[in-house]
Amino acid sequence: MLSADEKRELDAEAAHYRDRRALGIEALKIVQRHRGWISDAALGDAAAAIGLPPAELEGVASFYNLLFRRPVGRHVVLACDGVSCWIAGCERLLQAAAERHGLRPGETDADGRFTLLPVACLGACDRAPVALVDEDLHGNLDPERLAEVLARYG
């Protein structure tokens, strides 16, 4: 079952759409926000709340990059590997993330602090290379600045 908070958030969104099925992505994002990731139980709760078979909602969940069906760290780092960031040296950055911080694409570091995910262009190519940590965008990164940025997140 959804928690009271989750249900309240979903009800607020419900008014925006013509049918409850359209709430699928929103419901998944809400449980993810509250529970960190979308476990099978969370997926079942979201599906029940909008009246959709879990298998059908799973089809939606598995399609989108930002819906996490595995546990993630306390912070999610979306590192842009789009073309402008590639020209600006994002590969060097990914290498530094692995060597200095133990962060590999698609994985969570040993102490569960960060999950690193490569992502398509973040729409800030004039500040390439860029990465999004949770909701904050950081641009003009190099290995030194990356270390500084990561140090800010506990």
Binding site: R18, V83, I87, A120, C121, L132
Partner: protein, 423 residues
């Protein structure tokens, strides 16, 4: 010079409602609701020559004119602002939404009025947290002031507006896949026809327009089509947000008259190439456009001129290739992007794009063979227009086919030397 799209954007953050009104904001909406019939607004936009800024350049007024009107039209009708902006190398809609969110909101209300839509959505990519906050704030202010809601400014026109934040997939930007995503489904394209204007969201008439397209509308209504046409330097109307990324001195985005020559954008605005780097080519409007090279630098950046040169204006934000960056590596990066973002619906795209990307891996990693060039050229043909369900795969082939044309020697060197000469 007139900068209708970015004139309000300054270093101190976006204007709030009062500031936007002081700058002349919502006057166009007041004028439309007081003096203009919906068809008049559509006609003004048609006469202005505005073409869609989402990439395809379809005439905006004409698009609106396909929406069924009158008492017998199916209801509700929908307007959607496409704020998915995931085309690599593109960073213009973010600028508009962060910098002047009320301009988008006013443009959407006017567009919705023109087609008599009942509900409007901003379809925003999930990674755009700050733009989402700012647009939501602007929508809230517009409701509070009576610019949105059941009886806008006492005119009897009624409109709801919501922000939908997506969950990250490039294909959501394709307008029919976007409709599926908004309905809570996998973002897989729909067959056309029927076009969204006839049967879109939940089967009802729907207009999808890009953010930048919609931001032009308040100015066209306020100052008239003739003024708007006069802004362009060529036959193409209005201003355009151009951008440049890559090894230029000052990467950025600038609002300039439509038809500003490429050279002027690169040299005067982007400051030319960085010291130690020479220009080799550029993608004029995002990842899915064909390369242009030095011989094209004096072309005006407008829809027709760039199309005549064999490419597309696309989003108008260019990605510059320099002589210290490997063209094969750049194309490899692009093709992995397209392979990863394929929705998987049709086989040529789902299976063909990774295949192309693996061949490029081979070339870059020293396993290439001379016959790989012909193989890539063949794939570029087989995945081109007409062989796949949507424009994703053909878009992916644009940088590949043009790279083979202009940088073929570099591809051949990779195959013959069994290494990337840039590494």
């Amino acid at each position: 010079m007139d900068r209708p799209l970015t004139g309000n954007i300054g270093p101190d953050g976006p204007l709030d409602l009062a500031g936007y009104e002081r700058a002349g904001g919502y006057q166009a909406l007041r004028k439309a609701l007081r003096d203009l019939a919906p068809a008049d607004v559509t006609k003004m936009v048609s006469d202005s020559g505005l073409r869609g800024r989402g990439g395809a350049g379809f005439p905006t007024g004409q698009k609106w004119s396909f929406v069924p009107m009158g008492a017998a039209a199916p209801r509700p009708k929908y307007l959607v602002a496409n704020a998915d902006e995931m085309e690599p190398g593109t960073f213009k809609d973010r600028l508009l939404m962060e910098g002047d969110p009320h301009l988008l909101v006013e443009g959407m209300i006017l567009a919705a009025y023109a087609v008599q839509a009942d509900v409007a959505y901003v379809f925003m990519r999930g990674e755009y947290h700050l733009p989402a906050r700012r647009v939501r704030q602007a929508i809230g202010e517009a409701y509070a002031r009576g610019y949105l809601g059941p009886d806008i400014l006492g005119s009897g026109y009624r409109l709801e507006m919501h922000v939908h934040t997506s969950a990250g997939r490039y294909l959501c930007g394709e307008e029919t896949a976007l409709l599926n995503a908004l309905e809570g489904k996998r973002a897989i394209p729909r067959a056309k026809p029927p076009f969204p204007q006839a049967a879109g969201l939940w089967g009802k008439p729907t207009v999808v327009n890009n953010v930048e397209t919609l931001c032009n509308v308040p100015h066209i209504v306020a100052r008239g089509p003739a003024w708007y046409r006069g802004l362009g330097r060529t036959r193409d109307a209005g201003t355009k947000i151009y951008g440049a990324s890559g090894k230029v001195r000052r990467p950025g985005a600038w609002e300039l008259p439509m038809g500003t020559p490429i050279r002027e954008i690169l040299e005067e605005h982007a400051g030319g190439m960085r010291p130690g780097h020479a220009f080799r080519g550029l993608l004029p409007g995002g990842a899915s456009t064909d390369f242009l090279v030095a011989e094209h630098l004096d072309l005006p950046m407008d829809f027709d001129s760039i199309a005549h040169a064999g490419s597309r204006l696309g989003t108008g934000t260019m990605i510059v290739l320099d002589d210290r960056t490997c063209p094969v590596g750049m194309v490899r990066n692009l093709e992995w992007f397209f392979a990863r973002e394929s929705c998987g619906w049709c086989t040529p795209c789902r299976d063909g794009l990774p295949w192309v990307a693996y061949v490029l891996d081979d070339l870059e990693d020293g396993r290439g063979r001379p016959e790989d060039l012909a193989l890539l050229a063949e794939q570029a043909r087989l995945l081109g227009p007409g062989h796949t369900y949507c424009a994703h795969a053909p878009g992916a082939m644009e940088p590949l086919q043009s790279a083979l044309k202009y940088f073929g020697d570099d591809f051949a060197r990779h195959a013959h030397e069994h290494r990337c000469p840039w590494r």
